[in-house]
């Protein structure tokens, strides 16, 4: 058979056309925060390694973490970490085959967001006090 000529068929709208349900936003955020946290391993390694190298290296690392840009990163990492933690627990529940009903998902959306924000706020309070 000769190769078929491409025909101008109507295309199904791609994902960006639709208004995303909250669950879809949280789903892609799980991936995005996971990638972000993987990058955070660089900072974790720098911090621990600097402690092994010596006081001046450690002061340099903690100085960066305590700087405005460092604190901005720490805010992002802590929020990403707690979102990934809370949403990850929800994924484990889903893996067990539970919580797929539409109403349940709407509730767990809210629980994940509120829990992640609360845990982040409590951690920063603990760090500030």
């Amino acid at each position: 058979m000769p190769p078929a000529k491409p025909v101008a068929r109507p295309l199904s709208p791609h994902v960006f056309i639709y208004r995303w349900p909250l669950a879809a936003i949280l789903s892609i955020l799980h991936r995005a925060t996971g990638v972000g946290l993987a990058i955070g391993v660089l900072l974790l390694t720098w911090w621990v390694t600097a402690a092994a190298v010596g006081p001046s290296a450690f002061d340099q690392a903690t100085g960066f973490i305590g700087s405005p840009i460092g604190l901005f990163f720490m805010m992002g990492f802590s929020l990403a970490l707690f979102f990934h933690l809370c949403n990850g627990i929800r994924h484990l529940v889903w893996d067990a085959g539970r919580g797929f009903e539409k109403g349940t998902t709407a509730t767990s959306n809210a629980i994940v967001i509120v829990a992640a924000l609360t845990l982040t706020a409590v951690s920063w309070l603990l760090a500030w006090m």
Binding site: R31, G34, V35, L37, A38, V41, L42, L44, T45, V48, T49, A51, A52, V53, F58, S78, L81, F82, L85, G88, I89, H91, L92, D95, L119, S123, W124, L126, A127, W128, M129
Partner: protein, 131 residues
Amino acid sequence: MSNSSATNLRSPLGRARGLGSAKEGLHHWWAQRITAVAMVPLTLWFVYSVASLASGRMDFDLWLLSPINAAALVLFIVVGVHHGVIGLQVVLEDYVPTHLARTVSILLVKLIGYGLATVAVISTLIVTLGG
């Protein structure tokens, strides 16, 4: 090409090779979940520790002098990096289109991830044992 049996959807070449899936998917799936469960208490401990260190209630050297904290930090690094590496692998498998780029990027992630974890674990041991 036609299948000799209506109930067998595999191609004759596929049957001759005897290959199905790579047969590693189940292990990968379980490893992702088991490391996820392990990371729940480790993450709570880690954030509590970092918050205590940031507030000045705890000194870094004293923190890592405790064998429990040192063990927990090693676990946090090793389990966390493993969880991250197998997670990034799935992301790369989903989004990197060509076989070569996909294979190379996954291997790079493994090299960098486990390399960083090794450096971080050795550093932890140096502080713990040498402090």
